[in-house]
Symmetry: C2
DNA sequence: AGGTATGACGACAAATTTTTCGGTATATGA
DNA sequence: TCATATACCGAAAAATTTGTCGTCATACCT
């Protein structure tokens, strides 16, 4: 079983939750998986800015943390699927709140930093 | 005015929100400031695991992003205070949800990773 | 046989974050 | 005078995250 290099932060509830999600792609991956299971190549198509390698690494940590599940089908050519677990799904309301916040305040930050 | 090295991520609402908060201490700083304005030394006492230098750097970005405000009192010895803005305060419900999630699931992760 | 696609992963490089160390400056108290 | 405290900041090291590149294996299609 894959082991995190840096363990989850148990020192306080906020840091615990943050440490599961604060990376460039983990929150996006959870968001993508909210609907149906997805294959690695599909996730890469959905998040083309991320390389398959990075998605692979971050999915491993999500699996290790119990937020995502991986199923390998012993077929050829190989096929595997990632799906969100109940634990991961329980984070979605938080991600939803972040999405709403981002939509609400996007214009502000576009004015400040934008193109 | 201080400028972020890495700009806020405008590519999607979720990434925008995440990019404001995804660092080791920013969410904690916002959480600490929810009550009253605090001085740098107080913030360091509240978050002793973080060095004053890091708090300083991350507070600068929070100020630059408009989530926190800084007041400098022209006294000697020098005094300054950080306070949360309305924009920053609008993120607190999300942090609250993370705190609740962390409390709910702490035992799970202590079993998995903890001492 | 050669090209394509799948998924996994090692080795390494680049980028970014976080930390450490030292220094500036001023006032107070021992 | 010396130590302490306050706040700030630069340089550089260390740690961590993210990205690039090449490889393996297998089956399909041309």
């Amino acid at each position: 079983m894959y082991k995190r290099k840096i363990p989850v932060d148990l020192s306080c509830p906020l840091r615990l939750t943050m440490s599961l999600v604060n990376s460039k792609w983990k929150s996006c991956l959870l968001d993508e998986l909210r609907g149906a299971p997805m294959r690695p190549s599909e996730l890469h198509k959905a998040l083309p800015e991320a390389t398959p390698r990075v998605l692979d690494l971050q999915l491993k940590e999500l699996v290790d943390d119990g937020l995502v599940e991986k199923t390998i089908y012993p077929e050829l050519p190989p096929r595997s699927e990632y799906s969100i677990t109940d634990l991961g799904r329980s984070l979605l309301p938080i991600l939803d709140a972040m999405i709403v916040w981002g939509e609400t305040n996007r214009a502000l930050f576009e004015r400040k930093y934008g193109e």
